[in-house]
Amino acid sequence: MSMSDQLDPAALKKRLKALEAQAKEAQSTIDELKSRDSLKTQFLSNISHDLRTPLAAIITHAEILRDGMLGELNTKQRESVRGIVNGGQQLLDMIDEILTYVRSEGDQIKLARTEFSVTEVVDQVRMLNQPLAAKKNLTIERLNGDDLPPVYADRDKLRHVLGNLIGNAIKFTPDGGRIWISLSPRGRNGEELLVEVGDNGRGIARDHHELVFREFAQVDASPSRPHHGTGLGLAIARRLVELHDGTIWVDSELGKGSRFFFTVPLDAPRE
């Protein structure tokens, strides 16, 4: 192309037009994809919601039978009905996880901040998980955190994050293992709180450290994997931590346990 071609106003105009048309096309593709994505999100939200109702009925009927309200069951019958209740409950937890995820993606989650002690929330979650841990002979200790300043954050959301991390630790730590929680102020002026949930379980290979926080990702996604779940737990945890302007990450090596960390700002402006 010669100099005169480039400066030819007619040619320039033509090229400009072509570029504008391309930009328009790209924009319409983006719009189309966005609209499809939001339809999918809506579908996921509706289907999860609609799955809950019949499942709730199944669980209630099974509990009525289990508790002998319609006549005493023999041991084998009771055992079987317990299986229905437990299986139903597990399914319900998974559906709830999908719903939470969809809401957090659709920006439907708003933080309800109050001032509270993270230490207290940690102890609550520990208590709640104690029976599950006891089944595997695991200990869950809180190493420190008795004299921390309160945080200004969403209590339920942080409880959810802690519940997820401790739940995972229980799931992936073999019998007799150890789980700990450590809380410490961090930053030059202690402007954030660093929370660690550690375990001496199976650990996560280095190249999977990013993957575990990605939605629907599971390190072992094969149908025969020993641990089932939605693969959404840590993606939700990350989303909830980020809503608080915090960060979440993992430090781990295969066979050497995992240490999950997240931060919560201690200096969040009070409303």
């Binding site: 809950r52 019949p54 499942l55 669980i59 209630t60 009525i64 319609l70 309800a112």
Partner: protein
């Protein structure tokens, strides 16, 4: 006389299960699947406890409570049943006069305890 429970819920799967549960535990059970039906049932027979689903085919469950209060026949206690455990839903229900907001489904033992507490 047995305490009367009005179950306001549009899923017959759920109301069938609740009907068995509450009949077997000695309550009088009434069921309504819509706002209109619930207002009618609740007016005809004042309930001791109303279990209230928030999303009904013809409106919000809270409209039922509002109408029954206006007519001077509110239940002794209204327990809202919701699938969303968020602070906003909770506040809206309590502001509307619900005694409690329960996340459904909850284990039947817990549900029965909540009901007994409000009757006690």
């Amino acid at each position: 006389m047995a305490a009367r429970i009005l179950i306001v819920e549009d899923s017959t799967l759920v109301t069938d299960a609740f009907r068995i549960l509450f009949t077997e535990t000695g309550y009088d059970v009434d069921v309504a699947a819509t706002v209109a039906e619930a207002i009618e049932r609740g007016t005809a027979n004042t309930a001791d406890i109303m279990l209230l689903d928030l999303s009904l085919p013809d409106g919000s469950g809270l409209e039922v409570l509002e109408a029954l209060r206006e007519r001077g026949v509110p239940p002794r206690a209204t327990l809202a049943m919701t699938g969303h455990d968020d602070a906003k839903t909770r506040r809206t229900c309590l502001d509307a006069g619900c005694s409690e907001v329960l996340l459904k489904p909850l284990p039947i033992g817990d549900l029965l305890r909540h009901i007994q507490r409000h009757l006690g």
